[in-house]
C-alpha cells in the first residue's frame, strides 16, 4: 500500500468515525446512563454505568412487551421465510424451466410487485374479509406476498445455472415433478437460499410500516413497534429508549457479522445487470 493510501485511509477512517460510528456510540453510551443523566443528550460518559438496570427495566416495561415483541417478530420472520423459500423456489423453478407465455406473465406480475406500493387500506379490507386482520398468520402471509418478488428473482437467476440434464436424469429415474423439485433442485439451491434467508430476515425483522397497518393491538406488538409505542412513555427516560434501540439492533448486527458475504451477494444481485 502506498503512503498516499495510508493517509487517505486514515482521513477516511476519521470521517467515517464521526459520521457513522459516533451516532451508534451515542446510542450505546446513553443506553447506559441514568434517566437524569441521559436527558441532557450530550456526549459525556455516564456518571454512573447502569447498563444492567436499564436493560432489565426496558425488558420489563409494559409487562415484558419487548419479549412478546421479540417472540412475535421471530415467529413472523421464521414462518414467512420458510414459506418464501419453498413457494418462491417453486415459482422460480417453473418460470426458468418452462419458458412459456404463462410463465412470462407470472414473472412480470411478480416483478411488478417489486415496484408497486401495496394498496394498504384495500389490503386491510381483504384481510378483514378472510379473518386475517390483526393476526400473526395474516402478517406472515403479507410478508410472503411482499417478499416474493426478490425471492423469485434470485431463485430464477440461480436455477438457470443448474443444468437441465439433472432434471432429465431424474425424470428418467422416474421422479415426479415434486420429487425433481424437492430431491434434486432444492438441495442444490443452498447458497442462494442462505442469501435469501439472510436478506429477507433482516427486511422482515426491521419492517415497521406493515405491522403498523396490519397488526395493531397490544398482544400483536412487533419489535419495531416497541420503539414507536414506548416513545411517549420514554420522553423522560431517554436512556431506556436508547437501550431499546440497542436491543433491537443486536440481531441484524449478529447477522451482519456472520453472513456478510450473503448480504453483499443478495443486495448487489441486481447491480451488474438488472
Amino acid at each position: 500500500m502506498t503512503r498516499r493510501g495510508y493517509i487517505i485511509g486514515a482521513i477516511s477512517l476519521l470521517v467515517a468515525f464521526v459520521v457513522f460510528v459516533i451516532p451508534f456510540l451515542f446510542v450505546a453510551i446513553n443506553a447506559m446512563k441514568t434517566a437524569q443523566d441521559a436527558s441532557s443528550l450530550d456526549f459525556s460518559l455516564p456518571e454512573r454505568w447502569v447498563f444492567w438496570e436499564n436493560l432489565v427495566t426496558t425488558v420489563q416495561t409494559r409487562d415484558y412487551a419487548l419479549l412478546l415483541a421479540y417472540w412475535n417478530s421471530i415467529v413472523i420472520t421464521v414462518c414467512a421465510i420458510a414459506l418464501l423459500v419453498v413457494f418462491g423456489a417453486m415459482v422460480g423453478f417453473v418460470i426458468q424451466r418452462r419458458p412459456s407465455r404463462t410463465s412470462r406473465v407470472v414473472y412480470a406480475f411478480i416483478l411488478a410487485g417489486l415496484m408497486i406500493p401495496p394498496a394498504v387500506v384495500p389490503t386491510i379490507w381483504v384481510l378483514q374479509g378472510i379473518n386475517l386482520f390483526k393476526t400473526l398468520n395474516g402478517m406472515i402471509l403479507i410478508q410472503v406476498a411482499y417478499g416474493l418478488g426478490f425471492t423469485v428473482l434470485l431463485y430464477r437467476a440461480f436455477i438457470s445455472t443448474i443444468p437441465r440434464e439433472l432434471d432429465e436424469a431424474a425424470i428418467i429415474d422416474g421422479a415426479k415433478p415434486w420429487q425433481i423439485f424437492f430431491r434434486v433442485v432444492l438441495p442444490l439451491l443452498k447458497p442462494v437460499t442462505l442469501t435469501i434467508i439472510v436478506v429477507q430476515s433482516i427486511t422482515i425483522f426491521n419492517d415497521f410500516t406493515h405491522p403498523l397497518y396490519y397488526l395493531p393491538g397490544r398482544e400483536n406488538i412487533t419489535v419495531q413497534l416497541t420503539l414507536y409505542n414506548f416513545q411517549s412513555q420514554f420522553v423522560s427516560q431517554m436512556n431506556l429508549l436508547f437501550m431499546n434501540i440497542l436491543l433491537i439492533t443486536i440481531p441484524p448486527l449478529l447477522v451482519f457479522i456472520f453472513f456478510n458475504r450473503q448480504i453483499v451477494a443478495g443486495m448487489t444481485s441486481g447491480a451488474v445487470k438488472g
Binding site: A170, I172, D173
Partner: protein, 325 residues
C-alpha cells in the same frame, strides 16, 4: 433386450421441422449408433425415444409396446448424458440408487443392487464420495452405473465420451463394448465421432438434416455408401468426391474414390499433380495433392515412402473401388 421401432417420427420446433420423418428398427440386443454432422437431429431423435422430447407425429414402440405417449420412466429405457448429469449433492451410492429409492425399493435390496453394479464398474471404493471428488472417467462410470441399475430394456447414450481425453476415450470405448456383450441389451448411441461409430456399432444410422441417409453395418457403409453424403462422412480421411467434368467423363453426377484406393507413383499414372502437404501418421502418410483440372486430392500411402512438398506425383484410382452416383 427389446426391439425399438420408430414409424414416421417427426419433430417441429416452432415452425421448423427438425426431424423429417424417420422410420427405423433397432433389433433386440443390437448396438445401434446414430452419426451425422452437428445439428442434424441426433440428440433430438434420441430424446424422443427417451420421452424427454415429445414427438410432433409418428409412433415409437419398445419391445412391441407402443410407448409413444408413455412417460420416460415407463419406457424401460435408461439414458447416459454427455455431461454425466450426476446429482452433485448425492454420493455415488445415492446417485446410483436414486431411481430405486424413488421406487421405494427396500433398503437391503437397494444396497445389494447398487453394490453389484458398483463392483462390475470398479466403483466399490468410491461409493461414499461425491461426484466432485471423482475423475472424468469415474464420473462416466457412475452415470453408466445409474443406467445399469435400472435394468432397462434399452440403453440410450448421447455422446457420452465427448468430454474425455483421447486415451480415456478409447479405454471407455472398449469398456462399453464389453458391457454390451455382457448385458446383451439393446443400446442406442449418439456420436459425431465416426471412429466410435465404426468400432462399436452393430448398425450405423447416418442422419443428415433430419432424415436417415443410410442404415447398415459399419462395413456396408464403408464399402457401399448409398449416397455421396454417406460416402463423404464414413471413412477417414474422407473420400475424394468430384462433380463436374470428371464425373461427366465417368458417366455419373458425382464420382468418388477413397484416399486408400489411390495408387501413387513418382513416374506415371492417370492423374498428375503436385504435393502440397505431407501428413505423416507413422504407419501411413496422407498426401494432399493439387491435381490440374481436378483440384485437391487426398491419397493415403504407406508410411515408409517419402514425399516432399512441391514434388510432382501421379495417382491412379483402383477401378474396383470407385463410386459413381
Amino acid at each position: 433386450m427389446s426391439r425399438v421401432e420408430l414409424k414416421d417420427l417427426r419433430k417441429n420446433f416452432g415452425g421448423l421441422e427438425v426431424i423429417k420423418g424417420v422410420d427405423l428398427t433397432v433389433e433386440p440386443g443390437e448396438f445401434c449408433v446414430f452419426v451425422g454432422p452437428s445439428g442434424c437431429g441426433k440428440s433430438t431423435l434420441l430424446r424422443m425415444i427417451s420421452g424427454l422430447e415429445e414427438q410432433s407425429s409418428g409412433t415409437i414402440e419398445i419391445g412391441g409396446r407402443d410407448v409413444t405417449r408413455s412417460e420416460p420412466s415407463e419406457r424401460g429405457i435408461a439414458m447416459v448424458f454427455q455431461n454425466y448429469a450426476l446429482y452433485p449433492h448425492l454420493s455415488v451410492r445415492e446417485n446410483i440408487g436414486f431411481g430405486l429409492s424413488l421406487a421405494r425399493t427396500p433398503k437391503d435390496e437397494m444396497r445389494r443392487k447398487v453394490e453389484t453394479v458398483a463392483e462390475t464398474l470398479q466403483l466399490t471404493d468410491y461409493l461414499e464420495r461425491k461426484p466432485k471428488a471423482l475423475s472424468g472417467g469415474q464420473r462416466q462410470r457412475v452415470a453408466i452405473g445409474r443406467a445399469i441399475v435400472r435394468d432397462p430394456e434399452v440403453f440410450l447414450f448421447d455422446e457420452p465420451l465427448s468430454n474425455l481425453d483421447a486415451a480415456l476415450r478409447s479405454q471407455m470405448r472398449i469398456e462399453l463394448t464389453e458391457l454390451h456383450e455382457r448385458l446383451r441389451a439393446t443400446m442406442i448411441y449418439v456420436t459425431h465421432d465416426q471412429v466410435e461409430a465404426m468400432t462399436m456399432a452393430d448398425k450405423i444410422v447416418v442422419l443428415n438434416g433430419g432424415r436417415i441417409e443410410q442404415v447398415g453395418t459399419p462395413m456396408e457403409l464403408y464399402e457401399r455408401p448409398a449416397t455421396p453424403f454417406v460416402a463423404g462422412f464414413i471413412g477417414s480421411p474422407r473420400m475424394n468426391l468430384f462433380e463436374g467434368d470428371l464425373a461427366r467423363e465417368m458417366g455419373c453426377e458425382v464420382y468418388g474414390i477413397r484416399p486408400e484406393h489411390l495408387e501413387v507413383s513418382e513416374t506415371e499414372g492417370r492423374w498428375t499433380g503436385r504435393v502440397r502437404h505431407v501428413e505423416r501418421l507413422g504407419a501411413d502418410t496422407i498426401l494432399h495433392l493439387e491435381v490440374e483440372a481436378l483440384g485437391p486430392l487426398l491419397a493415403r500411402v504407406d508410411g515408409s515412402r517419402t514425399f516432399n512438398p512441391g514434388q510432382t506425383v501421379h495417382a491412379t484410382p483402383n477401378t474396383d473401388k470407385e463410386f459413381r452416383y
